[in-house]
């Protein structure tokens, strides 16, 4: 967590510059399971990227390249939506995955 500022150091009206949450809140710590990409099955349909709530499916040059594990919350939507089962949810720290 960043150091807490005193009142004199605060921006006027609490107005903050855009995009600071990414650095300040590493929501990857929430995960109980993580997505693993089986590249050989992937057809680059980008459905995983489209649906990720946390902007954590990395895309470069129009192609999916992996996950942003600093922010991925392990929700499993990408694995559920992948038409080719190219994403597998595995436990973050050993143990069985909870299956619905």
């Amino acid at each position: 967590m960043a150091k807490l500022l005193g009142w004199r150091e605060l921006p006027l009206g609490g107005v903050v510059t855009g995009g600071t949450a990414k650095e300040l809140q590493k929501t990857g710590s929430w995960r109980a399971e993580r997505p693993v990409w089986h590249e050989e099955k992937c057809i680059q349909c980008l459905q995983c990227w489209l649906h990720c709530p946390d902007d954590s499916v990395l895309v470069s040059g129009g192609k999916m390249t992996g996950f942003d594990y600093e922010h991925c919350k392990g929700c499993g939507v990408c694995a559920a939506i992948c038409p080719k089962d190219a994403i597998e949810m595995v436990p973050e720290r050993g143990g069985e995955c909870a299956k619905p």
Partner: protein
């Protein structure tokens, strides 16, 4: 240029000269004509303002916030129930540090419903964080609307500013008002000072964040600092305005025959005019009385008012609204300002003029005449013009 106009017109003229980018407004008696005059200017192409005829006062101030955060200069006006409806947003505008100037045509708060003047609407906004100025007549309303723009936009302040003028008494009566030439007024008000405007899309900003207990306190302390910066700026702006207008504004209040007064009255708004007549009458009879008429009510200029009253024997503080369950708001301001002094006057609190009840010179003369008979300050309300 000297004109015979109503308080409405005086405010509208000031607005015309300020020429805000956006005016979002909703009608309510006794403010409506301000909006009507301004709409007339807009529809006849006299001003380049986007007029947003919103569907409620809450939306009026909300739209003002949007426009101000976007980087525009904004103004609005309301009264009574309209202020009550928008007061949620007024607190927010102050917390967001947005310079919105609004005229408040003072009118009583329901219930019962009443369209005439008292200060209960201004009192509702007392703790909102908005700067509040009171005017005795249409001239002051015009002058202070121009000054309010400078105060609101000052980079050390950035707060909403409310210019209070008594509903009907000032809004609807024709009075002589000296208007500045357009170029003079515009030069005085200057260009809109923007801060982190939303429309600067290359530098995206977030306005109105969510603050947890780890930050809320500090953000509010910073807001208090904005209020604390007001007195100094107020004086500077008055000085500048006095130069260009030839009208002398100096200090947070007008002291009328106060310097050697033994007995004094403190009152906000148009009743001060009546009080001046009472003062003159009593002075002619040899009673040393004086009037303290605050212009700046929030932030409350405690030190200066205490200093001005310290040697007076007794002071009648008049409140044109109840603060149910306690003494009048102005009385409490004055009393706590005087508290630190070793020697201080006896205070008496009068509630007067509610719901447009007219207050006469003889009634105020009587109030002054009662003062020498009051032994000590009491936690008890007195009334002027009330039928028991």
């Amino acid at each position: 240029m000297r004109k015979a106009i109503t308080g409405h017109k005086a405010i509208a003229e000031a607005m015309r000269q300020i020429e805000p980018d956006v005016v979002a407004v909703y009608p309510i008696t006794p403010q409506s004509e301000i909006a009507e005059y301004y709409a007339d200017y807009v529809h006849n192409g006299l001003v380049h303002t986007e007029l947003v005829p919103v569907e409620s006062e809450h939306s009026a101030l909300s739209a003002c916030i949007g426009a101000a955060a976007a980087g525009g200069r904004v103004m609005t006006a309301t009264s009574s129930q309209g202020l009550a409806l928008m007061v949620e947003v007024l607190y927010i505008a102050a917390g967001m540090r947005l310079p919105i100037v609004m005229a408040l045509a003072n009118r009583s708060l329901s219930a019962p419903i009443n369209i005439h003047c008292d200060h209960s609407d201004a009192y509702l906004a007392r703790d909102s964080g908005a700067v509040q100025i009171f005017c005795e007549n249409a001239q002051e309303a015009y002058d202070y609307t121009l000054m309010a723009q400078r105060i609101a936009e000052d980079m050390n302040i950035r707060l909403p500013v409310i210019v209070n003028l008594d509903g009907f008494t000032l809004t609807h009566t024709v009075q002589p008002v000296d208007l500045l030439e357009d170029e003079v007024a515009k030069k005085f008000v200057g260009e809109c000072k923007q801060f982190s405007p939303l429309l600067d899309v290359d530098h995206p900003v977030t306005w109105g964040p969510f603050a947890m207990p780890d930050y809320y306190f500090e953000l509010k302390r910073a807001q208090q600092a904005g209020m604390e910066a007001v007195p100094e700026v107020f004086r500077k702006v008055q000085e500048e305005f006095s130069k260009i207008s030839g009208r002398q504004y100096a200090g947070f209040f007008e002291a009328y025959k106060l310097a050697d007064a033994e007995y004094a009255m403190v009152v906000l708004g148009s009743t001060a005019g009546t009080a001046k007549m009472a003062v003159d009458e009593l002075r002619a009879r040899g009673m040393k009385v004086g009037l303290l008429k605050p212009w700046l009510w929030r932030p409350f200029p405690a030190e200066e008012i205490a200093e001005a009253l310290r040697n007076v024997k007794a002071v009648a503080v008049l409140d044109r609204a109840f603060s149910f369950g306690t003494m009048g708001a102005l009385f409490e301001d004055v009393a706590s300002a005087l508290y630190p002094l070793k020697q201080r006057p006896i205070l008496a609190n009068y509630i007067y003029g509610l719901g447009g009840r007219d207050t006469t010179v003889p009634e105020l003369v009587r109030a002054f005449e009662e003062l020498p008979k009051i032994r000590k300050t009491e936690w008890a309300l007195r009334y002027i013009g009330l039928r028991e």
